[in-house]
Symmetry: C2
Subunit: 245 residues, 2 copies
Amino acid sequence: MIQTPCRQCRLRTLPLFLPHTAEEIALVQSLKRDELHLPGGHTLIDEGQTDAPLYTLLSGWAFRFKTLRDGRRQILNFLLAGDFIGVQQKMGDAAAHGVVTLTDSVFCVFQRDSLWQLHRQQPAMGFNITWLTAHEESLVDDTLLSVGRRTAEERVASLLIMLFKRAAALQADGGAQGVPFPLTQQHIADGLGLSLVHTNKTLRKLERRGLHRIEGGRLYLGDLQRLERLADLYGDGRQQPRPLI
Amino acid sequence: MIQTPCRQCRLRTLPLFLPHTAEEIALVQSLKRDELHLPGGHTLIDEGQTDAPLYTLLSGWAFRFKTLRDGRRQILNFLLAGDFIGVQQKMGDAAAHGVVTLTDSVFCVFQRDSLWQLHRQQPAMGFNITWLTAHEESLVDDTLLSVGRRTAEERVASLLIMLFKRAAALQADGGAQGVPFPLTQQHIADGLGLSLVHTNKTLRKLERRGLHRIEGGRLYLGDLQRLERLADLYGDGRQQPRPLI
DNA sequence: CGACGTGTTGATCTCTCTCAATTAGAGTGG
DNA sequence: CCACTCTAATTGAGAGAGATCAACACGTCG
């Protein structure tokens, strides 16, 4: 088990993340219990699990989801490097959603009371976590708007744009050569409240219009402007810097 | 303008809210800038507004929403007494959603850096706010599951149950005599991603089956068990105590 | 009393779902 | 090296849940 020291965390070098003091980093390091490597397609947290710790996604892709008894599944959002997992459940609560990996992933595992320790010992980090949590909610808000009020074409377009931008922000080249795209069409469907078949047809339609291309596990956007117009997405100054822990 | 002292806040007496120390309450009081009284149907925050302060809903009902350019509207969630408003936008950000009242409402207005002051001076409250924010996200998660994967009947049933439970928790009688229900069918439709007409037909269908009744601005549930089964809602230990600030 | 907001209902229409079948690629074992 | 199996993508056809269009009822209010 290779332990990455927080001080040398690859994520810290990205412009996306806030700088932190040595004390802050040392605190985070002291709370880190383990590093968990999972292959793609594996369960990190089961729906209803009661004892899930706090995680951070160090590398890879994953997603949060909920299901109905008969198996209908809704993906709540996709998780990329730097995202938090498990802030929701207070100690003792059942997880209200499951988490599954899309790719080989590495998670930092934190002890259960980390959230409290962080707040208590470094209020500035606590404040950032509140804000991060609120920001994650706003991602779900966006999806809810899509699923509730956009047509299939609009939904697919906006999802592609969102994922592209998030993934591009984690790359040095900013997505010039496309971004990794490990989702199957079933994941897209479950993320947008669509059926698999209709998702496929919609995707093909957009592709034939030259709006995007998915190939070899990578996503390339053809005409961002046209996609954004289709999705009714505002030019979008939303892409905020997200502090790491 | 009547200023309710936080120490005597009506909400504090409800079992729903956590106890707080005198220092905590004093701090909150010191950060409170104003009290805002709005009639029903009024805008508290415009979509895209950049300078919204932090609010707390002291009494009344409101909702958060987003719209597309052509006017399609999605209600993200309904706000009841005790809810926070505006944690999302960091200072300087544009509000990602609008907020409008459903009934005459009273808001506590807090200065912009309150969130930070709370974290800095009372980390325990900061921690609670993080958790509250995460909890609010889980409400949106629930709605997303509904809108993405439930049929119209299931959606309506689950919304009625959710609102009933939330409203009942704010009442002394726990909803035995029904709960206030200030939504129009258009609000329900916009909260569930349905059309107005179909919402009406679905509502009538459930009503004819004796599952609920809306009358004189109050909601009465006929058969909670049957409604929950219809909505595919789990018995639900979810109703957590929510700390007030 | 007319205008307006809200609720109700019937009649289409259509977007999306479901069912079914086919193709392609990756992996496995003989 | 080749059947065999599995998963993912693709496409057509028919069905259906929910949208849209249109009318009307009812209460409130200026």
